[in-house]
């Protein structure tokens, strides 16, 4: 037993720990650096790049680390690259760790709900901003346990550097055992030293998990805020007043149906306005299935268009095409005269350039499943994109955010995480987020179909008010017929990717000319009375 303690505290072995940590650090830091590049390559849109990265992964994940160490140490010198034992060990460990780290990164990134990136893209985020602000912060939470594993693995794998003469803990232990013949005391001592090191890694892992836990209560000036600056919002912009449920009277006033004359006058006005969105002969197929065959559509500035049609008729796809979240095979989409997805010279734009274009033409989007950024508070969901994409100052973004939250009746919920809000509240935040930068065109993809019936009303109210107050051009795909009639100037009925009816909302809904439209309206109105009883 005293021999065990003798070896446990022996300076010679403790110095070995330093070298073990050095090799491990080289391996992990290098592995991360290479792993990030590798993950980016694996996720690349360019096939050649991802194939190269995949080949690297197969080779370095599929061969034993010890061979890689010996290769770097003994074979590279023949090619004129002479690395010291420590560097050779670190390099080999880094090369070996990289594919594992890359796969952790890749699975973490892919694990983030696709709606998050769709929302980020729709808000005009470049690929970099999207990764940095939305995907990475969410992915990192799920990746921490795997990184903990990798840290422990790297630490243990560093012992293989003993084969290439790095005087780390394992090599020191085996040599010491050879010269003293105290095999078991030496190896138990070195085992315990390893356990302490890996225990340290586990502690770091648990600390990181705790620090990144969004549901943990937080106070001003905690460590948490230091690590999560994006959550500091509450400290900077205090909610001013609550305004929820205060607008009942105002609302009902707005709900008074316009007279027939007023409607005709508005339609005449709109017809004189410039064209906001023009869809020219777009075609799109998924394999053999045709989604659109030469679809044409014009929407005037300020016009509110309701897209109706059965599921699978192409409503959502059409909306996603308008802001280039989807591509099409031929034809053009123009917003304010800009050819969406193409430069003025006719070149196809990269995802980041498309994002910039969305900002320039001022198009916002609302999603069926809200797609609020899950790791950000309601306020930060709105303020963040204003700062990151539009370059607003902290103060200006906070002020605009509070104003919008007040308008959607959530002035006191700015600090809440999306998961702590009801579906209706989330969609109201999403509306505020979409219009915050001053969007001119808003695309609404079935904004109420994922909501419980009792929440449909609150969201439709907000949209109605927007329509009146903001004078936005809106294209709304919806199943809410009464809402469409109240809010929309025009109704378009889509089936199998074709527009079969297009006309003033009141007309189409009360006297449909196409038998398909008529049947759809009949079926929908019989099933929807309850949902529409506001």
């Amino acid at each position: 037993m005293d021999l065990f303690f003798h070896y446990l505290t022996m300076d010679y072995l403790l110095k070995g720990i330093v070298l073990t940590l050095e090799v491990t650090a080289l391996g992990l830091v290098g592995g991360f650096a290479i792993g990030i590049v590798l993950a980016a390559m694996l996720l690349s849109r360019h096939r050649l790049i991802s194939v190269v990265a995949r080949a690297y992964t197969v080779i370095f994940r599929g061969t034993p680390l010890i061979l890689q160490m010996v290769f770097v140490y003994d074979a590279l010198p023949h090619l004129g690259i002479m690395l010291s034992a420590m560097i050779a060990g670190g390099v080999a460990l880094a090369l070996n760790e990289a594919p594992f780290i890359a796969e952790i990164l890749r699975s973490g990134i892919r694990g983030v709900d696709h709606g998050q990136s769709a929302a980020g893209q729709a808000l005009g985020m470049s690929s970099f901003v999207l990764m940095r602000r939305i995907i990475a912060p969410q992915a990192i939470r799920t990746m921490i346990p795997a990184f903990g594993n990798e840290g422990v693995n790297a630490l243990k794998n560093s012992s293989l550097a003993s084969f290439i003469s790095v005087q780390e803990l394992t090599l020191r232990s085996t040599q010491l055992a050879s010269s003293t013949f105290d095999f078991f005391s030496v190896f138990f001592a070195s085992g315990l030293l390893y356990l302490m090191l890996t225990g340290g890694v586990s502690a770091i892992q648990l600390f990181a998990e705790r620090a990144l836990d969004l549901d943990r209560p937080r106070g001003k000036g905690t460590l948490l805020q230091y690590f999560l600056p994006w959550r500091n919002y509450s400290a900077e912009a205090q909610p001013t007043k609550t305004s929820s449920g205060s607008d009942e009277a105002e609302m009902s006033e707005l709900l008074v149906a316009p007279t027939r004359e007023a409607r005709i006058a508005r339609l005449a006005d709109l017809a004189k306005g410039p064209i906001a969105v023009e869809i020219q002969d777009i075609t799109k197929s998924y394999g053999a299935r045709q989604v659109f065959g030469e679809l044409n559509l014009q929407v005037r500035t300020g016009e509110i268009v309701a897209l109706l049609g059965p599921s699978g008729s192409g409503k959502s796809t059409l909306l996603r095409c308008i802001n280039r979240l989807e591509t099409w095979d031929s034809g053009d989409v123009l917003i304010g005269g800009h050819r969406v997805g193409y430069s003025s010279g006719g070149m196809v734009l990269s995802p980041s350039e498309v994002a910039r274009q969305r900002v320039e033409v001022g198009v916002g989007m609302l999603f069926q499943h809200f797609n609020l950024f899950a790791h950000l508070t309601a306020a930060e969901n709105i303020a963040g994109p204003l700062r990151w994409v539009h370059g607003w100052s902290q103060e200006a973004a906070a002020q605009r955010t509070q104003e919008l939250l007040d308008r959607v009746g959530l002035g006191d919920r700015g600090d809440a995480l999306p998961r702590h809000l009801s579906g209706g509240q989330q969609q109201r935040v999403a509306i505020a987020r979409a219009i915050a930068p001053g969007a001119k065109l808003l695309l609404l993809d079935e904004p109420t179909s994922a909501l419980d019936p009792e929440m449909v009303g609150e969201v439709l109210d907000v949209i109605r008010r927007l329509a009146i107050e903001e004078k936005l051009t809106m294209i709304i795909s919806t199943h809410q017929l009464r809402f469409a009639e109240e809010v929309a100037d025009r109704v378009i009925f889509l089936t199998d990717g074709h527009i079969v009816e297009d006309g003033p909302a009141h007309e189409v809904l009360s006297q449909p000319r196409n038998p398909l439209t008529a049947r759809f309206i009949r079926v929908m109105s019989s099933g929807q009375t309850s949902a529409l009883a506001l």
Partner: protein, 297 residues
């Protein structure tokens, strides 16, 4: 948590090691004298390229007596091969640093240029001389390490090995010899010998102590050291084998270092230093051999 080695014996062993270290002072003085001797001065003039340099010596430091950590100060290596390397350095004017690697990695380390020489109780065989040039410095016989009382009656690399298990290090010259016994054992109607391959001396000794292997055949001095450490558990079987030549390995791309070592080693042997060193380390079973170059193209 126990040690394999009873405390009383450890004390004995420590005493033995301590005693063996006692004469080291005069020897060190002797080594210093060597460098200032006329012959060595002449060599330093003849080979100025090594003077003031630091050469890297690849070792497999698991063989007490030849090379192992100093249990008293584990930051140092000690043993005959270490003293020899220091003496060569002293005579030719270079310093030595040591690079510990697995036995099988000694030659690859030299070939890749990660080391300048190998002084690590390695037999200079024709096979190995294809990978490096060797300068012999000692002739030694193999010893046969077995469990106390030699229960399997092993007498060497012969038919007595049939049906037993031998522990050896990867790359040892004994490995093919044991393998070649297979057909002979079969012809004699006996089971073939099994081989367990390790990467250092200590693992082979542990294999016998744990009952996993029946024998470990290596140079007789190493076997003696093991028996000294575990007198209750191990013994040396009597064996008659051919002599082997222990050599210093030098890269084939560095013939000047090889030639300089031959000359310096001759001086060391002439001065009586090598004999003193072998006595100091208890390697009394080995004979000094005049430096001979073994090189195969």
């Amino acid at each position: 948590m126990s040690t394999v080695f009873p405390k009383s014996q450890r004390r004995l062993l420590s005493a033995a090691i301590f005693a063996s270290l006692l004469p080291s002072l005069p020897i060190t003085a002797h080594a210093a004298d060597l460098g200032s001797s006329e012959a060595c001065q002449a060599l330093q003039t003849k080979y100025p390229q090594f003077k003031g340099k630091t050469l890297v010596d690849a070792i497999n430091p698991h063989t007490p007596g030849y090379e192992a950590l100093d249990p008293k100060d584990p930051s140092k290596y000690i043993g005959l091969d270490i003293d020899l390397a220091e003496s060569l350095g002293s005579c030719l004017g270079f310093k030595v640093t040591y690079k510990p690697v697995a036995f099988a990695a000694l030659l690859p380390t030299l070939q890749s240029g990660q080391a300048d020489l190998i002084i690590s109780d390695i037999y200079a065989t024709k096979e190995r001389a294809k990978a490096a040039d060797f300068i012999t410095y000692s002739k030694v016989f193999d010893g046969v390490l077995v469990a106390k009382g030699n229960p399997k009656k092993i007498t060497g690399i012969n038919l007595s090995l049939c049906g037993t298990t031998a522990a050896e290090n990867t790359g040892f010259v004994e490995v093919p010899l044991v393998q070649n016994l297979g057909p002979q054992c079969k012809a004699a109607g006996k089971p073939v010998p099994q081989l367990q391959l390790y990467d250092n001396n200590a693992s082979c000794i542990q294999a016998i102590l744990a009952g996993r292997a029946d024998t470990y055949i290596n140079d007789v001095n190493t076997v003696d050291q093991a028996v000294k450490a575990y007198p209750d558990k191990l013994s040396k079987a009597t064996a008659v084998t051919l002599p082997y030549h222990i050599g210093i390995g030098v890269s084939k791309t560095n013939p000047e270092l090889r030639d300089a070592i031959v000359l310096a080693l001759t001086e060391i042997q002439k001065s009586g230093l090598q004999l003193e060193l072998m006595k100091k380390w208890g390697l009394d079973q080995g004979a000094i051999e005049a430096p001979t170059i073994i090189s195969v193209k």
